[in-house]
């Protein structure tokens, strides 16, 4: 009887530990990572073959359809603004006082020499909307316990066919993310760290993107200030704001 009880308890424990509902996990992740709107101040460190550059910017985004970025430094970049509405992207350059529309075929180019394309930057749909998740195990990353989730695209236009994502079991923040091709080839790896609590949510303030097929050190992304669910005036997301 004791034996049976032990078995029962451990079975329950096993089930509850190894198979928490993956969608629930993703939901929790999305709750941490997504918001109605957000304002980030951040620095992006791009490692080139010769030099590394740090670019700072402030970005405003609402949902996943609207975003506005203004670059603050270095001097060369200062005042350059980008506006994304739906599938369109405009860039404003203060030196020429011109707004240039980036058409579809250019969106796959790298942004400022980083490992991210314009498209990568624009695609911030909720993971739950794109992928079906499954928990496949547990691992420890930097002393934190994580669920390992396998995400398989459920929509046609996902950038990656499947992903592997390591989610902190307590904070529900991804600590590592690997993107795969349909064939199973690993394409990109993102490591997230410096998880802090901001307005009651856990958020990774530092990320490193790495295109694993390409030589180099990847692109670092550090958030120096994050604000969620603010009042962002509507005019920010208009072309008129670009010239201001």
């Amino acid at each position: 009887m004791k034996k049976i009880f032990m078995l029962f308890v451990s079975a329950i424990f096993l089930i509850s530990f190894t198979n928490p509902n993956a969608n629930v996990i993703l939901d929790k992740v999305d709750k941490n990572m997504s918001s109605k709107n957000r304002i980030f101040e951040s620095e992006m460190i791009i490692h080139g073959r010769r030099t590394s550059r740090t670019i700072t910017s402030i970005s405003y985004s609402a949902g996943n359809k609207q975003s506005f970025i203004e670059y603050l430094s270095p001097a060369r970049e200062q005042g350059t603004k980008m506006l994304k509405l739906e599938n369109q992207l405009w860039i404003y350059s203060p030196s020429t006082d011109r707004i240039i529309q980036i058409s579809g075929h250019m969106l796959r180019q790298s942004v400022m020499g980083s490992d991210l394309s314009y498209e990568d930057m624009m695609d911030d749909r909720k993971l739950n909307d794109i992928y079906t998740a499954n928990v496949t195990g547990n691992e420890t990353i930097d002393g934190r316990n994580t669920y390992v989730l396998e995400l398989i695209a459920k929509v046609d236009n996902a950038a990656y066919h499947h992903q592997k994502i390591w989610v902190d079991t307590e904070r529900f923040v991804p600590l590592k993310q690997e993107m795969f091709a349909r064939s199973g080839q690993l394409l990109k790896r993102t490591t997230l760290s410096d998880v802090k609590q901001v307005q009651g949510r856990w958020f990774p303030m530092s990320m490193v993107y790495k295109d694993v097929l390409k030589d180099g050190n990847g692109t670092e992304f550090r958030i120096t200030s994050a604000k969620f669910d603010q009042k962002i005036p509507d005019y920010i997301f208009t072309k008129a704001a670009l010239k201001q």
């Binding site: 796959r108 950038a159 990656y160 064939s183 080839q185 097929l213 030589d215």
Partner: protein, 395 residues
């Protein structure tokens, strides 16, 4: 004397005199024949190059013309993403009859030895016969995806047959995918535009990779394809597809014509000079002709014909060594290995092509110009006093 016999007489006299002059005549004739042979040779070589390059480009790339998806633009890689459409039943039937070769084009990134290189991937039907590409080797076996590449591509990526290459692409929805392909064969082709930066896969494989079942970017027309109107596809004829080659050929011909001009001028100066000399030396003869009742224009005619006859001899002499030479070169060709790695479409060996038109025009050019330069000094005769001439008095 009838006009005909007069001309015959003039010619007969001319040749007798020319033969009499011996070595000098032959040297003049050889120089002129050189000019003659070289003009034919050079033009023949350019024509041969042109024909071969056209033929090669057609056989390897353009066929009898291409049908492009309206969005497609071969010089704008950005157009490729949206330039694809399914083949209609009519087109599929033509493909089956091997009258059209379907090609699907996409952009991808290849990673040879960790380096990153943008490439164009072309999906071709392994069974097509319109283009010379060795597509048979693309027939899949097992789950290996075979690819063929050209010699230039193989060199720039340091790839050999049997090597594997990682490529990454985005399918029609923008989803990334990557896999290894294996080089099934490396073709050698004289047309850089089918080779540089390009990888060929089986059409089926690429369509699956892209999620574009039955879709293609363009259709290459084969010999058997006559109907030049396919709805929703833009026909591009050879004149359009070969425009760059035409420009190079034209420029080469311009350069050639300067050289030919120089050569011909030199040969003509030699004849002119000889003509001056012979008129000077043969004043007695001239006086005699006039004394015998020939009009001065007739004498001028004799000398003009004599000078002009150089060109006939030159043609004959040119034929004597030129024909065997041309036949030989036409057979063994001229090695152009040197120019192979340049950006021009040029065959490793050029087989000169001598058209009848070229030969006739050249003969005409040589004879007319030789006759004109012979006439110029002969005009002097009409100013001679017959008595002085007869005496051989120097003038």
């Amino acid at each position: 004397m009838t006009q005909k016999t007069k001309i015959m007489l003039a010619l007969k006299l001319a040749f007798k005199n020319l033969m009499g002059a011996g070595l000098r005549t032959w040297l003049n004739v050889s120089v002129l024949s050189f000019a003659f042979v070289i003009i034919i040779f050079y033009n023949g070589m350019i024509d041969g190059w042109n024909r071969q390059s056209r033929r090669d480009t057609q056989e390897w790339e353009t066929g009898k013309g291409q049908f492009w998806h309206p969005e497609y633009d071969r010089y704008d890689a950005y157009t490729i993403k949206d330039a694809h459409a399914p083949m209609s039943e009519e087109i599929q039937a033509e493909v089956k009859k091997k009258n059209l070769a379907p090609v699907l084009i996409t952009q991808a990134t290849a990673f040879p030895q960790g380096r990153m290189q943008e490439v164009i991937i072309k999906g071709v039907d392994p069974e097509q016969t319109v283009l010379k590409l060795p597509t048979v080797t693309l027939v899949p076996s097992g789950d290996i995806d075979y690819a063929i590449i050209g010699k230039r591509m193989a060199e720039s990526c340091k790839l050999n047959v049997g090597d594997r290459l990682l490529i990454r692409w985005r399918d029609k929805n923008g989803t990334f995918d990557a896999r290894e392909i294996q080089i099934a064969s490396i073709f050698k082709c004289d047309v850089p535009t089918v080779d540089k930066g390009q990888i060929y896969l089986s059409l089926d494989v690429l369509q699956k990779m892209m999620g574009m079942s039955n879709e293609v970017t363009m259709l290459v027309a084969g010999n058997g394809f006559i109907n030049k109107d396919l709805k929703n596809w833009d026909f591009k004829d050879s004149a359009f597809l070969l425009a760059d080659l035409d420009k190079i050929i034209q420029a080469k011909k311009a350069g050639g014509s300067i050289m030919e001009g120089l050569l011909l001028i030199i040969a003509l100066i030699a004849i002119f000079d000889t003509q001056v000399l012979s008129i000077f030396r043969r004043q007695k003869e001239i006086g005699t002709y006039i004394a015998l009742g020939m009009t001065r224009p007739q004498v001028v005619g004799i000398f003009t014909v004599e000078g002009g006859a150089h060109s006939i001899l030159a043609t004959l002499l040119g034929a004597v060594y030129g024909i065997p030479l041309f036949l030989l070169l036409g057979k063994v060709g001229i090695s152009m290995k040197a120019a192979q790695m340049t950006d021009m479409a040029i065959a490793e060996t050029i087989y000169p092509f001598y058209s009848l038109r070229l030969i006739i025009i050249t003969i005409f050019l040589v004879v007319i110009s030789a006759t004109i330069v012979s006439y110029l000094p002969a005009r002097k005769i009409s100013k001679m006093k017959p008595t002085d001439a007869l005496k051989g008095k120097l003038q």
